[in-house]
Amino acid sequence: MSESNTLYLLIATLLIPVASAGIAFVVKEKYGWLIPVVSSLLLLSAAVIILFPLLADGQQTETYATTWLSIGTTSVQVGILSSPVTRLMAAVVLVVSTMVHIFSIGYVVHEKNTDRYFGFLGVFTFAMLGLVYSSNLLVTFCFWELVGFCSYRLIAHKQYKPAASRAATKAFLITKAGDVAFLIGLLLLWIQTGTLELPTLTTGATASTLAGICIFIGVVGKSAQFPLFNWLPDAMQGPTPVSALIHAATMVAAGIFVLVQLAPVFTPETLWLITGVGVTSALMAAVGAWLATDIKKILAYSTISQLGFMLMALGLGEISGAFAHLLHHAFFKAGLFLSAGAIIHSLHQATHHQPDFDVQDIRNLGGLRKQMPLTFAGFAVCAAALAGIPATTGYLSKEMILTTVHQQNLWWLEFAVWVIVFATPLYIFRLLWFTFLKPAAHTLHIQEAPWVMRIPVLVLAAGSVTFLVYKGQLQSFATQMLQLQISVPAWIMVGSVVVTSMALLVGWLRRNARIRQREFIIQNFLDEWNAQLILLTTFVARLANVFDRKWIDGSIHALAYSKVALAHMVGWADKNIVDGTVSGITHITRGLGGVARSVVNGKIQSYLLWAIAGLLIFIIWMLY
């Protein structure tokens, strides 16, 4: 495919979601029913369009860029990087987004505000694609923040629900903290290497550890890893399709994606940090998924765990394995979420939205295998992919990662990974059992989800199954496009099957154990820590306010009052001293006058006296 064709097609895939969003925002409420259909069709066309460059361009890499801003010797290019990685990621994003759009036709059919919903879904898809295609890290950062904004708006889609708005604020603030670090890392990188163009960066030298760590902190925030993951379970307040798109398949994967692109830039110390955080998060979140009783929260923790798994692989240098797992995870996790959405929808219909029946609590569910067979099938296949059962895509990428881990020869790392491999089927089977297989705990008559909601689940489930045989190996669409060579030692293949079976067995044996709602202390700890931080900040803020009013403003007031006091003093001095002197002189003069006047007192004898006295003085003066 010629270069300009690719460019135009890729730009088309960028603009179509914008058009979808534009239509959604502009269309009047009277024609609101049109919006879901039109948006879905537009996204579907975009998904089809992306297939052309994806299949035609193979392994070619090309950058199309133009100058966005330039000052002095610094310039930032905005452009499209068309490489196998970006094309594949874009395809996955578009397919998942299309499925979510189609699913949403059924999910939001009776709600208002579909304009906002589809509008922001469209903007999100655009921003995610922009992030994927971007050839410059600063532009990536711009889209990175933009997807965060769309996530904020979509989590708080039901604006009148306080819990939703709180969850949205929490999500934005925690990821913003990560974003600030990302920005610092980005700037440091820019200053150290002089450029932010991805092709140039990745062929240059490694950046400083500080820059790498800062960028990684941003990834930790966005991809919900320890210690910045506590926003993700709360983000489940948003509509389920939103969770499927944003908080499972794409936005949280953006961090991993950026690391995949920037991998050559990180120093070994940074990479070890990445591995450590990944392993920790994976283990912690697996525990969280095991403890949770809400469908969506279980899936959320599962996402965190899988992302940690990917991070760990990245840190060890297994970039292709991590990226393949990212793509596979997008499909099966979105499938899981959409089936959960179908379940929630059907149960809401059945219970007529009773507030006291929590449709998302797995203790209330059960027996859905018979009542929602196709949804069950889709869910089961995706769950199998998550658990890493052979013939699923998840199994392929998991094996690649296990191989790399084994090559490190670190016993503790290997142990941790096998624990993760054990825990994952455990919790997902628990979910599967309690939702579908267990005899029903309720007596509701539940209908299968409408076709518009079943098809996306089935499509995604189909995408979670390996279907190609190439060069004697099973390949998934991802590994095929990336032309990955997978060479997994036999013992690992066998071992993982054994471990997975053991997990399923344990899950089966413990299936009738009563589950209670137990605290996940790490989540509580992080939430508590966040709350303390916020309290501290608001306390400091109030302190600053008091300081501002009392001290800074107070000193201004003191200055003003002292000026007035000074003026009063000067006034007093003027009145009493200066004017007093004048009055004093007046008094003296009057006194003197009085004295002088007293001589002329009308008494003849005193006149005589003065006359004689004067004469005497004159005579004496004359004589002497």
């Binding site: 006047r597 002329v600 007192n601 009308g602 008494k603 003849i604 004898q605 006296l609 004689i612």
Partner: protein, 102 residues
């Protein structure tokens, strides 16, 4: 001190008494008396000085003085009587129409 000197001092004493009476007495008639005393002291002086020279000038002058004193006393009493009639009082301090008013 000779006899003459003693009489000079007497004259001075008389004059001073007369002056004092003029200054301090609260009755106009008494002031006149003081004036008379001063005149007589002057007379004494005249006679004494006459004694030290030839001729009768001093004593003659003294007679003139007595004559004038009598006339002046008469006129003075007449004035005092008119003043007393006008002011109802013979005390000089009360006759203070020439006083500077505040």
């Amino acid at each position: 001190m000779t006899e003459t000197d003693f009489l000079f001092y007497l004259g001075v004493l008389l004059f001073s008494c007369g002056l004092l009476i003029v200054f301090t007495k609260k009755n106009a008639l008494l002031v006149l008396m003081g004036i008379e005393l001063m005149l007589n002291a002057a007379n004494l002086n005249l006679v004494l000085f006459n004694k030290q020279q030839a001729g009768m000038d001093g004593q003659l002058f003294a007679l003139f003085v007595i004559l004038v004193a009598v006339c002046e006393a008469a006129v003075g009493i007449a004035i005092i009587l008119r003043v007393y009639h006008y002011y109802q009082s013979a005390v000089p301090d009360r006759i203070n129409n020439l006083k500077e008013h505040e």
